[in-house]
């Protein structure tokens, strides 16, 4: 083994060591917040018990848990459409936002005509537009998915545009010298370089898609966790409201985690 291979090996070993200490840091970073949250929940339980505050105002964590258990069938039945509509809104955002991002990057005419409008459009407080969707698309899932798309679309556009411009100019020159086609440059260079940007955009977009669906459920009042929250709230069943929130958090975390998981898998191939 030559000297520099030895150096490379030592380098690799130090990278491994770094990864191990990162593992310790990650463990610390997951365990500490869980302990902190647990302390708050326990304090909350004790405070509600001690103060005798009305459960309609603030239920104890234990009653939230029992409300979750008691209403599990309704909660699951309503979590399902919320989840599916969020996924639908997200996938639509990803495909349409990605497409617009590519068009904006590759066609100067499209960019000059649309980009300022896209930015301006972004400034609309999107929740305020929700009643319009109900007017146009009715009270079915179409309205809620459209709302999710409307909210979650922009981060994908922006991250696609900046990601596709992130490729190393020297690599692009190499491709030019090899007479690579535009398709090859797109798929073999620009797209892999854009992935970190794209995944950041996807994480934001997934979070926004959930908000979009919940707003849609508030407005259309048909089904879903948003509807449960609204309905239980109007009947002062605060524990049920919080149970629905708990389920909603779980759904959100799972969907966000799913994006993170795909990111990790893809980035082991396309990471640096």
């Amino acid at each position: 083994m030559s000297d520099e291979l030895l150096v490379a090996e030592i380098h690799a070993a130090s990278v491994r060591r770094e990864q191990r200490s990162m593992l310790a840091r990650t463990a610390r970073k997951t365990i500490l917040p869980v302990i902190a949250a647990a302390i708050v929940v326990v304090a909350w339980e004790i405070a509600v018990d001690a103060s005798g505050i009305k459960p309609a105002v603030l239920p104890a964590p234990s009653s939230v848990l029992s409300a979750t258990f008691a209403n599990r069938d309704i909660l699951i039945a309503n979590a399902l459409p919320t989840t599916l509509e969020t996924i639908a809104g997200f996938i639509l955002s990803l495909s349409l936002g990605g497409l617009l991002g590519v068009l904006l990057t590759y066609f100067a005419l499209v960019r000059d005509a649309l980009y300022p409008n896209v930015i301006l459009f972004q400034l609309i407080p999107k929740v305020a537009v929700a009643p319009l969707f109900m007017l146009w698309l009715g009270i079915g899932w179409e309205s809620r998915v459209a709302m999710a798309l409307f909210i979650a679309f922009f981060p994908i556009v922006i991250s696609t545009v900046s990601g596709l411009q992130a490729a190393d100019p020297a690599i692009l020159r190499l491709c030019e010298s090899l007479a690579a086609s535009r398709w090859q440059v797109f798929f073999k260079v620009r797209l892999p370089y854009s992935l970190p940007f794209l995944f950041n955009g996807m994480k934001i977009s997934m979070t926004l898609a959930i908000i979009g669906v919940i707003v849609g459920e508030f407005i259309t009042s048909q089904q879903g966790l948003g509807y449960i929250i609204l309905f239980a709230g109007s009947r002062l069943e605060t524990a049920t409201v919080m149970a629905a929130l708990l389920v909603l958090c779980t759904v959100g975390l799972a969907l966000y985690g799913l994006v993170g998981l795909v990111e990790r898998i893809v980035m082991t191939k396309f990471g640096h």
Binding site: A8, H11, A12, V15, A170, R173, S177, L178, A179, H272
Partner: protein
């Protein structure tokens, strides 16, 4: 004598004739090359030497088909160069490796772009990497390699498709002196084996003399050929060649040629300034 020169010119594998380059910018146009003519026989190793700003990199980029030609012509194998050709391999100043590909995959990148069968070229890629002592590092990614190792990967990548012409744009200028000497030896080793027509752009006189069969000095503003020197040393060349008297005499001649050309261009510049005033 004259007749034999004409035959030699006709047989030139790479023919640069009357080449000029003007960059047009909003602030006005700048002429960087004027009437450059160089005829290079097949399999010659030629260095283009000159101070920074003499247009040597521009000349190389025009050879690569990456820069447009303002006047004159460039021919490779009797075909005029107007766009990048697939029988040319380039080594840039920076290694320009794709960070997510291993050394081996980076070497095979041109094959991937050309749509040729990867499996067929993999043994050649491996052989090239072994030749530059990267046999054990071929599955590492650029992040894990040193600067010198990365540039060696770039050498292999430029040679993977057996190009007829190899173009090098100060490929070792970003490396430290020791690594640079090492890579020069490695390059000469590889070149003596494959023996393409090679253009090596550099501002290092010793590097040019050590590597080349011939050194062309570009100088002045706009740049033109100010010296064209044949390097007589036999191959394979020993690392100790640089310590010989003959080697240092040629380096001295070239140094004088460069110094004279910069002095002339400075005098011209001053004269032009006076004329303007």
């Amino acid at each position: 004598m004259a007749a034999s020169e004409i035959t030699a010119a006709a047989e030139g594998f790479v023919r640069i004739s009357g080449l000029g380059k003007v960059f047009r910018r909003e602030e006005g146009s700048v002429q960087v090359l004027r009437n450059v003519s160089i005829t290079v026989p097949n399999r010659q190793f030629i260095s283009i030497l000159g101070a920074s700003g003499c247009g040597k990199t521009t000349l190389l980029m025009m050879l690569a088909g990456l820069e447009s030609i303002t006047s004159g012509t460039i021919e490779i194998a009797r075909q005029s160069v107007t766009k990048p050709r697939r029988d040319v391999g380039i080594i840039f100043q920076d290694p320009t490796l794709l960070p997510w590909k291993t050394a081996l995959e980076n070497v095979l990148f041109p094959i991937e772009i050309f749509g040729l069968p990867l499996a067929e070229y993999r043994p050649r890629a491996q052989a090239l990497l072994e030749l530059v002592a990267l046999g054990e590092a071929m599955h590492m990614r650029p992040r894990q390699l040193s600067g010198g190792m990365r540039q060696r990967v770039a050498i292999c990548r430029a040679l993977i498709h057996t190009p007829a012409v190899l173009l090098m744009d100060e490929p070792f200028s970003a490396l430290d002196a020791i690594t640079r000497d090492e890579l020069n030896l490695m390059l000469i080793d590889v070149w003596e084996r494959y023996h393409q027509t090679a253009f090596f752009v550099t501002h290092s006189i010793r590097e040019a003399v050590f590597l080349s069969d011939r050194v062309v000095v570009l100088g002045g503003a706009p740049g033109h050929v100010v010296a064209d020197v044949t390097i007589p040393f036999e191959r394979p060349r020993a690392p100790t060649l640089g310590e010989t008297l003959a080697f240092n005499r040629i380096c001295g001649e070239l140094r004088t040629a460069i110094a004279e050309s910069t002095a002339t261009s400075r005098r011209d510049h001053t004269a032009a300034m006076r004329a303007q005033a």
